[in-house]
């Protein structure tokens, strides 16, 4: 029990902070922070599975999150039949071509000895492949992108409920992780970090510039929600009654009926947005708790013990007959799949997919700060890291504004320095993240909630 | 009193148990002394103690009558103690000549003549002077390693298993080189696995067992001692 006291205390403080935001700023803000915290927590859990359990560095989190988001688009958006008829055939042919090339290369790799000719041959096949694909796809892509470019201009999706994308996103990410893992996992740690980062940049570049797929930088907006819309709620009887019941004390104080109605309307509008966010919170909480249970079970299972053994002494584990390469690949795929889920959740919540917003700062390095700060190897720590760092990321602006005002209190409002600093408030969050990371790494290198299991 | 001496050294790694216990070795200039013993006897530890790589709990290290027990490894290098590690004992990405220059890093005078002396000692190195050491054969590398250590004109040269992992022919060649070095009036102290061959060229030897001196004597005496023969030299 005493051991868990830290965890309970840390989470109580965290929830307390969010509630304080609810009281002093607004419940809307508090809930949107809470929801993003939950999504961040899922991402950190994915990174933690890779780094904390197995010591694998994955700086490509951004790419997996984006694939999750892509899944959300491809699942929920209605198909665009005009686009399909305009260029779907060409795209399908290209897909077949890509598959054919992959199999051809596999075939060559399997059946021929390693030699210069083989290497050049494969290079030749890839280059001719690219040329052929470009030629065959060009007209199709142009046709697709010409179909009503202001709103569609892409193939569209399957038109299924968006929640399915959380699973599909996991599979997308897992597929990419399989390829990346096959290719890069043999590299030593810092090379792996760089390689995964660059591969994720390639993935983002493709999503950004292949407009036929998901409109690229033109973004997809208005994705269907798994929860009610505010506008609908505001006209729904049971919801209005619910709000009235909740606030009956407040409403009774107002005697004028017109005023009362106006107050009620205001409350309904506020309430509807809080209600929607609560629905998301519920959905996200289910995911977080389910993942937490699974990851905790895995951590304490023989498999988890084996993973830690591999992490702490790869050679010894190898000598004991553990297939390190296979296990690493497996855990790389699992962790990436979790990040993919988070990516899909994020797009579900936002209702829009903006490939341009996937930047390594936000989707790779920030997540890593969360993992390190929270405590790698400890799932509770990882989730806490997601909460604490996201909270700070959002609240950094008000905090730094407060500090600036405190330190420049003697200066007049129009003083150049004060104005300049006030304009720079958004960047103080980077400063806080950096300082936080450096301080934690120096003075509490195992994070706020360190890994508890020590291996003898 | 010998030129270089470790007196009743006791110590181990960090706060761990003592690996060497009241262990004493000494060596004079122009002499080769081998430290032998079974695995885990503390041979390398004794050498590290002499170098200052581990801290002694008791005992002393003395060179030329001066107590250097408190000096750091780098300062011991300045006192003329040179060391050739067992592995990674050359700068593989640098040329032969650059390796020698790095050996002379602490010398401020013109060391060109010292390089010439090394080339006299190991003629093959002159031939390969501009080649990367990583591209040389195992035996040639060991010569570079010896040459680098000799660049400060040491009075004491310590070798950690110089023949580990080289072929028997190269081993003989290397021992020849070590004898050549000894003739330049250097005190040579080495840890060796190939006990028989080492004793053949050694003036004296020590046999350590569990960190303590078990036997000591001239190379010939140890070679002929039936107890040493049966337990360490394979009959």
């Amino acid at each position: 029990m005493r051991k868990n006291l830290n965890i309970i205390a840390a989470y109580t403080i965290m929830m307390g902070l969010i509630i304080l935001v609810g009281i002093f700023q607004s419940w809307n803000v508090a809930l949107s922070i809470f929801n993003m915290c939950l999504i961040s927590a899922v991402m950190t859990m994915g990174a933690n599975v890779q780094w904390g359990y197995a010591g694998l560095i994955n700086f490509g989190l951004m790419g997996y999150a984006a694939l999750g988001g892509l899944a959300a688009v491809l699942i929920s958006v209605d198909p665009v039949p005009e686009a399909w008829s305009a260029g779907g055939f060409d795209i399908l042919i290209c897909l077949c071509l890509i598959i054919a090339i992959v199999f051809l290369i596999r075939f060559i790799l399997k059946n021929f000895e390693k030699s210069k000719i083989r290497t050049y041959g494969i290079a030749g096949i890839i280059i001719t492949g690219i040329v052929i694909i470009r030629i065959t796809s060009e007209s199709g892509i142009e046709a697709i992108e010409a179909v009503n470019p202001a709103t569609t201009g892409f193939l569209g999706g399957l038109g299924l409920p968006i929640v399915f994308s959380w699973i599909v996103g996991a599979f997308f990410a897992a597929g990419l992780a399989f390829i990346v893992g096959k290719v890069a996992l043999g590299l030593r740690a810092d090379y792996l970090a760089i390689a995964t980062l660059l591969i994720s940049e390639i993935v983002i570049a493709i999503i950004k510039h292949e407009d036929w797929l998901a409109r690229g930088v033109k973004n997809v907006i208005g994705l269907d929600r798994p929860v009610p819309y505010e506008v609908n709620l505001q006209t729904t009887e049971w919801f209005i009654n619910l709000v009235a019941k909740f606030n009956s004390g407040k409403l009774e104080l107002i005697s004028n009926i017109a005023d009362k109605q106006a107050a009620l309307n205001q409350l309904v509008i506020e309430g509807s947005s809080v209600f929607v966010k609560l629905c998301y919170s519920g959905l996200f909480l289910i995911v977080v708790i389910a993942l937490l249970i699974v990851t905790q079970k895995a951590l304490y299972s023989p498999w988890g013990r084996m993973m830690r053994a591999i992490r702490d002494n790869e050679e010894a584990a190898n000598a004991m007959g553990k297939n390190v390469v296979k296990q690493h690949l497996l855990i790389f795929i699992l962790g990436s799949a979790i990040v993919g889920i988070a990516g899909a959740m994020l797009v579900t919540q936002d209702g829009l997919f903006t490939p341009g917003s996937y930047r390594p700062m936000r989707y790779t390095f920030l997540i890593w700060v969360m993992v390190i700060v929270g405590g790698s190897g400890n799932n509770f720590g990882a989730i806490l890291g997601g909460f604490a760092v996201w909270f700070l990321w959002i609240e950094a602006a008000p905090i730094s504004l407060f500090l600036i005002n405190l330190f420049t209190v003697g200066l007049p409002e129009t003083h150049e320095l004060k104005v300049h600093l006030t304009e720079s408030v958004p960047y103080f969050r980077y400063l806080m993240m950096g300082m936080g990371l450096l301080l934690i790494m120096r003075y509490r290198p195992k994070g706020i909630l360190p890994e508890k299991i020590e291996i003898k | 009193m010998a030129f270089f001496e470790g007196v009743k050294m006791t110590g181990g790694y960090g706060t761990g148990p003592d690996i060497i216990n009241s262990c004493s070795v000494d060596v004079n200039r122009g002499e080769i002394v081998s430290i032998l013993g079974p695995n885990g006897a503390g041979k390398s530890t004794a050498m590290k103690a002499l170098l200052g790589l581990i801290n002694l709990k008791s005992g002393a290290v003395v060179i030329d009558g001066k107590d250097i027990s408190k000096l750091s490894p780098q300062d011991r290098v300045r006192q003329g103690i040179s060391f050739v590690p067992q592995t990674k004992n050359v700068f593989a990405g640098m040329t032969v000549e650059e390796n020698l220059e790095m050996g002379a890093y602490l010398r401020d005078d013109n060391y060109q003549n010292v390089i010439e002396e090394i080339y006299e000692l190991f003629p093959i190195l002159r031939e390969k002077r501009n080649q990367l050491v990583g591209e040389l054969s195992g035996g040639q590398r060991q010569q570079v390693a010896l040459g680098r250590a000799l660049m400060i004109k040491p009075s004491v040269l310590m070798l950690d298993e110089p023949t580990a992992g080289v072929s028997p022919i190269v081993m003989d060649e290397l021992f020849d080189h070590i004898i050549k070095v000894k003739r330049t009036n250097v005190a040579i102290l080495m840890v060796e696995q190939n006990a028989k061959q080492a004793l053949n060229i050694s003036d004296r030897g020590y046999v350590l067992v569990t960190g303590e001196n078990k036997y000591a004597g001239t190379g010939k005496e140890l070679l002929n001692d039936p107890r040493v023969r049966s337990s360490f030299l394979g009959g």
């Binding site: 560095i57 740690a189 390689a195 660059l198 890593w368 450096l438 790494m441 | 640098m94 790095m102």
Partner: protein, 336 residues
């Protein structure tokens, strides 16, 4: 004549820009490789350190401009760079003393140092944006062109023009001088050799009496010089925007690894390999073929292997391929 036109076309659109861009990458790549070779970690703060150096250069340039100092036809920034370098060296040594040294002394694994460099990245990025803001800034003054395309056409009577911006010439010129001095230093001086020795085999370097503190300090000093000049040249030629500098870290890493990380000469060449392949692969050759092919065979499409959107992706793909087939880089030979 058509053949000459085709050559000028390639020179103008591929060779000159790639040579400039390659020089800028090369300086960054040498910076990465030095840190990696001697301090033994991948420095994720590379791009932001370069941004910091550039920012200081810009601030000093503004100051000079405000008091009316200029270099005439040359950009004022060239005068500001030496002062910026001094400041930057101070910054590097400051960071080393308060951040990196602790982990070096306690012999932390390289991964931990890389994580710490991410912390430094965040902080440096914040400082740069707080001081100068995130906006795009141009600070080039002086004569813009050495040869203008129009003048070139008049001079030669060709259809194709060749334009060389003075910022491009300055970039290539300064890079070559700087790199020559650096290689002379590393290969011919005792201190330089001791740095290479330290990078090659740390333990043996210590046994040879090489002072690690000195080696580390000189490494940071060189790093400060490279970061400032590399960043300032990029900013002079293109423009200064903190986010771009952060992004440039990726092709710079690619160049360093392609050249064999820890090998400065490889990093130098790696910069050009990355720059040329990016531009080669994304250039549309339609016009080129129009010059050299008979009219009947002229291409209808752009004849472009990949669209320019994938410029970065090209260098990253090269990197991934190199990592797979030759993890030690494509240039064999000396480390550091």
């Amino acid at each position: 004549m058509d053949f000459l036109n085709a050559i000028i076309l390639l020179l103008n659109y591929i060779f000159v820009p790639a040579l400039t861009y390659g020089s800028q990458l090369a300086l960054g790549a040498i910076f990465v490789t030095l840190i990696y070779g001697i301090l033994r970690f991948a420095n994720f703060a590379t791009g932001d350190m370069m941004a910091f150096g550039t920012m200081v250069t810009i601030l000093i340039t503004w100051y000079f401009q405000s008091i009316g100092i200029s270099l005439g036809v040359l950009p004022t920034a060239l005068l500001a760079i030496p002062f910026a370098i001094i400041f930057m060296i101070g910054y590097m040594l400051f960071i080393d003393k308060f951040v990196f040294r602790y982990y070096r002394v306690s012999k932390s694994p390289p991964v931990q140092l890389a994580m710490v460099s991410i912390g430094v990245m965040f902080v440096t990025q914040a400082v740069v944006r707080i001081i100068i803001g995130p906006a795009d800034r141009r600070f080039f003054d002086g004569e813009k062109f050495i040869i203008k395309a129009g003048e070139f056409k008049e001079m030669t009577g060709l259809n194709e023009g060749l334009a060389i911006k003075s910022s491009q010439a300055i970039t290539v010129f300064v890079t070559l001088i700087l790199v020559s001095i650096l290689f002379w230093f590393l290969n011919k001086t005792k201190t330089g050799k001791s740095m290479r020795a330290y990078s090659d085999n740390e333990d043996l370097a210590l046994l040879s009496g090489i002072d690690p503190k000195r080696v580390v300090m000189i490494t940071w000093i060189i790093a400060g010089i490279l970061a400032t000049i590399g960043g300032a040249l990029y900013g002079l030629d293109k423009s200064f925007k903190p986010f771009t500098y952060f992004n440039n870290m990726l092709p710079i890493f690619a160049a360093a690894i392609v050249g064999g990380i820890g090998n400065p000469f490889g990093a130098f060449l790696g910069g050009y390999v990355i720059a040329f392949s990016e531009i080669f692969i994304t250039y549309a050759y339609k016009k080129f073929f129009m010059y050299i092919l008979p009219e009947s065979m002229e291409p209808e499409t752009l004849v472009q292997l990949l669209s320019t959107d994938y410029k970065f992706a090209v260098s990253f793909s090269i990197l991934v391929i190199v990592l797979l087939y030759r993890p030690n880089g494509i240039f064999k030979g000396k480390v550091l």
